[in-house]
Amino acid sequence: MKPLRAWARRLAGLFGHGRRDSELAAEIHSHLQLHIDDNLRAGMSPEQARRDAVLKLGGMDPTMEEYRARTTVPVLEHLLQDGRFALRQLRKNPVFTSTAILMLALGVCASVAIFAFVDAALIQPLPYRNPSRLAGVYESAPKCPQCNLSYQDYLDWKKLNHVFVSLEAYNNTGFIVTTAGGAQPAHAARVSAGFFRALGVVTALGRDFYAGEDLAGARRTVMLSDAMWHKRYGGKPDVVGQPVTLDGAPYTVIGVLPRDFHFAPAGSAEYWATLDASGQCEQRRGCHNLYGVARLKDGVSLQAALADTTLIARQLERQYPDTNRGQGANVAPLTAVITGDIRPILLVLLGGAALLLLIACVNIASLLLVRSESRRREMAVRSALGASRVRLVSQFVTEGLVLVACGGLLGLISAAWSMRLLSSLIPAEMAARMPFLQTLGLNGRVSAFAFAIALLAAMLFAFTPALRLSFAEIREGLVEGSRGSAGNTWRRVGSKLVVLELATAMVLLVGAGLLGQSLYRLLHVETGFQPDHLVTLEVAAPPSSYGKDPQAVALARQIVSRVANMPGVKHAALVSVLPVNFNGNTDWIRFVGKPYSGEHNEVNQRDVSSDIFATLGARLLRGRYFTDADDQSKPMVAIINQTLARKYFPGEDPIGKQYGDISLSPKSIRTIVGMVDDIREGQLDSDIWPAEYLPFNQSPDTYFNLIVRTSQEGESILPSLSATIRDIDRGIVALGGSSMEKRILDSPAAYLRRSSAWLVGGFAALALLLGVVGLYGVVAYSVSQRTREIGVRMALGAEPGMVHRLILKEAGWLTAAGIFMGLAGSLAATTLMRNLLFGIQSWDVITLLVVAAVLGAASLLASYIPARRAASVNPVDALRAE
């Protein structure tokens, strides 16, 4: 306690020790006065009295020193002194200081911001109990390794498995919520009763679903997301027990989910209801509409779980050959299911940010080296005046720390800002798929990361110049006009650093180039329709009023005709699933008159209104389009795409051929009346599947997408479109209005490449800039070191052109080495990101050549300026300079 107190006082003494000094002086003065008084009283002469008093006091210098050492902490005192000196030095050199700080801030900002995304998506544990024991469970089909479960299969898997503590199911849906202000659309999910128990999520309010609450005949109950609770119920606890009307049916609110709960596969679901066990799809084993999530039993591995579920799938395959043929099983870690395709992109971006940080640090280190060169004289003087080596090194360390502190802080602030900017740039639909990004922020882990890179940078900056400080060189610095070997050493080290920078810039440029070309090729992929001048709108009608087929057909006819007659509308049509969306919502078909051995001929099923192909601008290859008259009173018809024709009717004319469901039940038999060119139903980067287009009027639904071809650009028609639909029935909701081009640009496949191309491109541009600045620094420094040599050469008759060549040759070698290293690095780096590439090879020669040319040209430009300066040297001045 006692030493502690003494230390506290000493630390306090660091501040305002001038006051302490003057207090000691006053005390010594009073001491002498008292002593002199005594001596006078003892009869000494005034002069003698004074002399005696001073002698008795003793030499005051060591005393003062000891006193001062005791009032403060010498090491800290020195550090503060160094700090003040460092600040003064840095202020004296604002160009160097601001360049260094800005470069560091840039590097820190990029890497911390990207790391925060990595942290939110990949590191932060999911808000479930023991999330590593959770798995996504799927049925697998030949084309679809992670496909939905059917309800019947789910029940069997749940009963028969030996590996899961519990197996639960969920799917995404939407509800039309009846409110006082009219019908409102809401995102929703249906889950099995044990879903939240399996995840280990405890309700924030109210209760969880009871076991069995998901069975047919149970009372309809619903849980709310925290967001919905606050939005619609103002966060009041009396929400539990309140009735709510969803899709026209009465439900009771039983609970509210915790604020931090999210479940990416269900998007931004606001209402969580139980599975609809009595639904039409749920009755059929062949209708797949659920995803599984399971908690593994202790000691059971994913492989064991996969083996067990595969065994069950085989058993069901034997038991129900019609529906379950070829249906296997798939089990994946839930963490992978949730973060999905964002993982490789984040890692690529993190790599890019790290490279940028590396370049920034290398540049600053080389700037510091140049500075330490020009300060050799200063160091030598300080050393000659008695500064210890430790003091000299600590001066550099302090300067490094001050730089890192400023740059790091600035970087951290801008990182926080960029995080917000970047996450606000994510389209809402994408953001709903990545709810884990809500946890994005400067948390402990991110701060620790920032601190760690700051520490590394500080070490680098402090020790690079300090290492260069040896006694021999310090003394050398005093010798007038000395140059010694130091300049050459730096030229060697510095040029290695620049080669590294140029190589890094090259890697980033190649990455950006490949990503940019992937994006371009992706956006120019043949879609089979004309996406310009198209707007789309989701429409959901309450099943309570439009659930019967004739009602839905009448509604669809009314909507299409009303919309088609709006000013500025050329065509209007309905489709069950928009194009450039996903391959799925499939049908299993069997052809009349062709051999069949029970295989699943899986084709995309799209229910479309008669005008759809004209609206989309698709190409009819054979046969005819639908007409509005193709309804349930007429023979069943279908239009197929070219891929289907190629696969199942090779060398035949498909028109007039018939097919039906897997048992060829008479009700299901359809006649093919037309064939269209392939329309891209899936994402831009996925394959074309065989597809059938069926008349909406023959298989109507209360949910569909309206597609409108307009005469004017953009989405300006959307408000009047929604108004027209509301005008028909206020119980119908219209949502998700968007132009088709925007939808395609924001579609996951395009968005992921677009965002990564922009970010990596940004990094690459900065890296190029920094690398070229670094090269300029090295060449300029080299020129300044060689001024006398150049002067001699020119005095001996060298032409300016020769001097040019001399300097450019040096820069050329550095650039060539950088490009060569960068080439090797690019090949390695782009192989790692080949998953992101589309329509282009990771070793694309043209990209590599163009990037090398850009880098070479930029380097040439950077070295031309110092080369010109060197050539314009006046030999007389140069020789006199020393």
Partner: protein
Amino acid sequence: MDAKADVRQGTLALMILKTLESMGPLHGYGIARRIERTSGNLLSLNYGTLYPALLKLEQEGSIASAWGVSENNRKAKFYRLTRAGRKQIAKEARDWEQTAAILARFLSPTEDPV
């Protein structure tokens, strides 16, 4: 004069504390004179060395200081013992006695031949 002893390491603090205990609040010069007198003028003390020792004691909380006026009307900084200082005296005196006793055992055989 040359027979005077130097102040031994660690003993000055105890001397200061003891002096303040017996004399009450006193300024630096007074403490120095008092120590000299108490030692029977056998100690050679540079008065200046007193001040770092006083500062250390003050930082440790054994003594406290305040500016005041001396008996002949000079401004001076007066030191006084704190409660912690009194405890410190007891402890240091005990330690010192122990050290002295141990040393005495080492020194005694020379007077007492085997």
